[in-house]
C-alpha cells in the first residue's frame, strides 16, 4: 500500500506560529509512523506555492516598500512584521498582477526564492533539526508536475473545470455534479491561487499512490472537500484530516495580523531550550501538541502545561525498560502491531490515537523504539 501524505504548506513569509508547530508535528508523526508500516511519501514543496499572491505579492512588497532589509541577518520576527505590513497594504490595495509577474516567472523558470524567504527557510531548517522533524526538502526546488494550463486541460477533459477566461471570467473548479459550488482557481488573466497550485502538484502524483491523505487547517475544509472530490473523481482514494488552529487565550490569530515571539517556534525554543534533554523535549512537544491539544481548537495554548508535558516525557523515557536491551528488542517486535492498532483501519497511522496511547498507564507500550523512530 503506497501512501502519499500531503499537508498544506506553510508559506515562508513569517515565523512558524503555534498552529504551524501543531500541524508540522501531526504530519511528521503521521509520516514517520506510517512509514514503519508501509511505503509512504511526504509531499511538501515550497516551489509549488511560491507563485501564489500570498508569497509572490509579499516578495514584490519587500522589494518595493522595504528595499533595505538585510536578508542575511533578519530574524523571523522581522519578516513576520514585514508580512503584517504587506497584508495591511494588500487589504487596501491588492498588488496588480502585472507587478507579480517577474516573481511568478522566476519561480516557474528556476524555482527562484526571494532572499528574505530563503533566510526564513534556512532558519526553519534549524527549527526542524531542534524538533527532530523529518525535512521533506523545504529548501529544495521542487516544481509541480503539471503546468497550470496542462492542469486546466486535464480537469476540463473530466468536466471538472470551467474556464471562462475567453469571456473575461476566471477559471473555476467545477464539482457541481457532486453538489459543490464553483470555486475560483485562477483570475481572468490566469494567475492561479493555492488550490490550482495544489492540483498542479497532486494530479500527476495520484496514479502512483493507493491512498492520499490531505492534512489541512479546519478553516480550509470547504476547499479541501472540493480537492478531495476532484482527486477522487480522478481515481484516487483520499482521506482528509482537518486540524484546528491553536488558540491563545481563547482567540485564534492569523499570522497576517502578527504573532508574538513567545507564540512562535523560536519563542518555544527560547523557553524550553535548556529545560530537558533533546529526546524528552521532542517527545514532550509531540505529546502536548498532538495528544494534549488534539485535532480540535478547544484548548488554548498553555506554556505551563507544555513544560509539564515535557517533564512527563522525560519521566516516561526514564521509566521502566529504559536502557533494557532485551525489553527494547521485544518491544520492537511489537511496534508494527502497536502502530497498526492506531490506524483506525486506514492505511496511515492516526497521530492522535498513537500519541495518546503512549500515555496509557496499564498497557505495554513500545515507548523506546517509537520514541527513537517516530518521536525524536
Amino acid at each position: 500500500m503506497k501512501v502519499l501524505i500531503a499537508p498544506v504548506t506553510v508559506t515562508p513569509t513569517k515565523a512558524l506560529g503555534l498552529s504551524h508547530v501543531k500541524g508540522l508535528l501531526w504530519v511528521d508523526t503521521m509520516y514517520r509512523a506510517t512509514r514503519l508500516l508501509t511505503d509512504a511519501d511526504y509531499l511538501y514543496s515550497h516551489t509549488t506555492y511560491n507563485t501564489t499572491r500570498q508569497t509572490a505579492g509579499f516578495w514584490e512588497y519587500l522589494d518595493r516598500a522595504c528595499p533595505d532589509v538585510d536578508a542575511s541577518t533578519c530574524t523571523e520576527d522581522d519578516v513576520g512584521r514585514l508580512y503584517v505590513g504587506y497584508q495591511a497594504e494588500a487589504r487596501e490595495r491588492p498588488t496588480p498582477e502585472q507587478a507579480l509577474r517577474p516573481y511568478i516567472q522566476a519561480v516557474e523558470d528556476s524555482g527562484w526564492v526571494h532572499p528574505v524567504s530563503r533566510r526564513v527557510l534556512d532558519l526553519w531548517v534549524g527549527h526542524y533539526a531542534w524538533l527532530g522533524l523529518h525535512d521533506p526538502g523545504i529548501t529544495q526546488v521542487r516544481p509541480p508536475g503539471l503546468r497550470f494550463e496542462e492542469a486546466v486541460d486535464l480537469l476540463a477533459r473530466h468536466g471538472l473545470c470551467l474556464d471562462m477566461r475567453r469571456d473575461g471570467g476566471p477559471v473555476f473548479l467545477d464539482a457541481t455534479a457532486q453538489g459543490l459550488p464553483l470555486r475560483t482557481i485562477a483570475t481572468p488573466t490566469g494567475h492561479p491561487n493555492y488550490l490550482a497550485c495544489a492540483l498542479r502538484e497532486l494530479i500527476p502524483l495520484l496514479p502512483r499512490y493507493e491512498r492520499v491523505v490531505l492534512v489541512h487547517d479546519r478553516e480550509l475544509t470547504e476547499d479541501y472537500i472540493l480537492l478531495d472530490k476532484i482527486c477522487t473523481t480522478l481515481g484516487a482514494t483520499v482521506h482528509r484530516v482537518a486540524l484546528d488552529r491553536v488558540p491563545v487565550d481563547n482567540v485564534v490569530r492569523s499570522s497576517r495580523h502578527g504573532v508574538e515571539r513567545r507564540h512562535t517556534l523560536a519563542g518555544l525554543a527560547d523557553e524550553l531550550g535548556d529545560h530537558a534533554p533533546a529526546e524528552a523535549l521532542r517527545l514532550g512537544m509531540r505529546l502536548y501538541f498532538i495528544a494534549g491539544l488534539g485535532k480540535s481548537g478547544h484548548q488554548s495554548f498553555r506554556m505551563d502545561r507544555l513544560r509539564c508535558t515535557v517533564d512527563r516525557a522525560a519521566k516516561l523515557l526514564a521509566g521502566a525498560g529504559a536502557g533494557d536491551t532485551q525489553a527494547d528488542t521485544d518491544a520492537a517486535e511489537d511496534v508494527a502491531a502497536f502502530l497498526r492498532r492506531h490506524t483506525g483501519g486506514r492505511a496511515h497511522v492516526d497521530p492522535y490515537r498513537l500519541t495518546s496511547a503512549l500515555l496509557a498507564r496499564h498497557r505495554r507500550v513500545p515507548l523506546h523504539p517509537l520514541a527513537h523512530a517516530v518521536y525524536s
Binding site: 475567453r166 469571456d167 457541481t176
Partner: protein
C-alpha cells in the same frame, strides 16, 4: 428617432401592461419614480446556465427555448416582470440534480422554466454570475431560425454593442427574442438575421419591438439595446399588436 421621450413612453407602456397582468393593486407611478420602477424586483425568474459565450448558438437557443414554452408558462412570463439570470456553469454537470426546461443542441446552455426566483436558489448557490466583462469580438451578422415550418418570413434583430458588457448583451438579446416569440411578433419558421452595431438607428429603421432599459452610464436616461425589424410592419406599429397588450418590464 429614439428620443428619450419616445423611449420613456414605450417603457412606461410596457410596465403598465406587465402590471395589468399582475392584477389590481400593482400600481405604478405615472411620473415620479419611473426609473426606479424599471429596476423593481421581478416576480418571475428564468435562470440560464452557460458554459461559454457563443452569440449565434445563444440566439438560436433562446428562440428554441421561447418556442418550447407551453401556454401556461408563456402566460407566466408575459404576466410578470420576468428576470433572466445568466450563470456560468456546465449544464452536463447539473442535469442530474436540477430540472431544466430546455438544453441547447450543443449542450453548452440550459434554461429553467419561468418560476418564482426562490425555486432556483439552490442552482444559483452552486454557480456564479456569467462574467460581466467587455463584449468579445462579435460577428457583424449572424442568423437563426424560429423553430417551426420554414416560412419565407424574415426579420432583423439589431443589437447595440457600444458600452454593453457580455452579461448585458445576453440579457437584452434574450428578452427581446423571447418576447418576440411569446407575443407572436415573429412566427415559427421565421429566418432572423442579427446585426451587431454600436447603437440602434431609429431614423433608419422602424422597430417593431425594442428592448429598453436604463443606461447605467447616463443617470436617469433610457437606452434602446436591441430592436426587431419585421419587414412589412408599418411605421408606428410598435404601438399595436400583442406586444402592446402584454409585455413584461424592461428589467434584466
Amino acid at each position: 428617432m429614439l428620443t428619450q421621450q419616445y423611449l420613456r413612453t414605450k417603457a412606461i407602456s410596457r410596465i403598465k401592461n406587465a402590471h395589468a397582468g399582475l392584477g389590481p393593486g400593482a400600481d405604478i407611478p405615472e411620473k415620479a419614480g419611473w426609473h426606479a420602477t424599471l429596476q423593481q424586483a421581478p416576480t418571475t425568474t428564468v435562470t440560464v446556465v452557460m458554459r461559454e459565450f457563443d452569440p449565434a448558438a445563444f440566439a438560436q437557443s433562446a428562440l428554441d427555448y421561447a418556442t418550447s414554452l407551453p401556454g401556461n408558462l408563456r402566460e407566466t412570463w408575459l404576466q410578470a416582470c420576468t428576470r433572466t439570470v445568466f450563470l456560468a456553469g456546465r449544464p452536463a454537470n447539473l442535469v442530474s440534480r436540477f430540472r431544466f426546461h430546455h438544453i441547447s443542441d450543443n449542450s453548452s446552455m440550459a434554461w429553467t422554466a419561468p418560476a418564482p426566483a426562490s425555486e432556483q436558489t439552490a442552482l444559483r448557490r452552486l454557480l456564479k454570475l456569467f462574467p460581466a466583462a467587455d463584449l468579445p469580438a462579435l460577428p457583424p451578422t449572424m442568423t437563426a431560425r424560429v423553430p417551426g415550418t420554414p416560412l419565407t418570413a424574415e426579420a432583423q434583430l439589431d443589437v447595440a454593442t457600444a458600452r454593453v458588457s457580455g452579461a448585458d448583451y445576453l440579457v437584452h438579446v434574450h428578452h427581446l427574442l423571447a418576447e418576440a416569440v411569446l407575443t407572436g411578433r415573429i412566427r415559427p419558421g421565421t429566418r432572423l438575421t442579427a446585426r451587431h452595431i454600436p447603437t440602434l438607428d431609429g431614423a433608419a429603421h422602424h422597430y417593431a419591438m425594442l428592448r429598453i432599459a436604463p443606461d447605467p452610464t447616463a443617470r436617469e436616461r433610457l437606452r434602446a439595446y436591441a430592436g426587431l425589424v419585421v419587414p412589412g410592419s408599418p411605421a408606428g406599429s410598435t404601438h399595436r399588436g400583442p406586444w402592446a397588450q402584454k409585455s413584461p418590464c424592461a428589467t434584466g
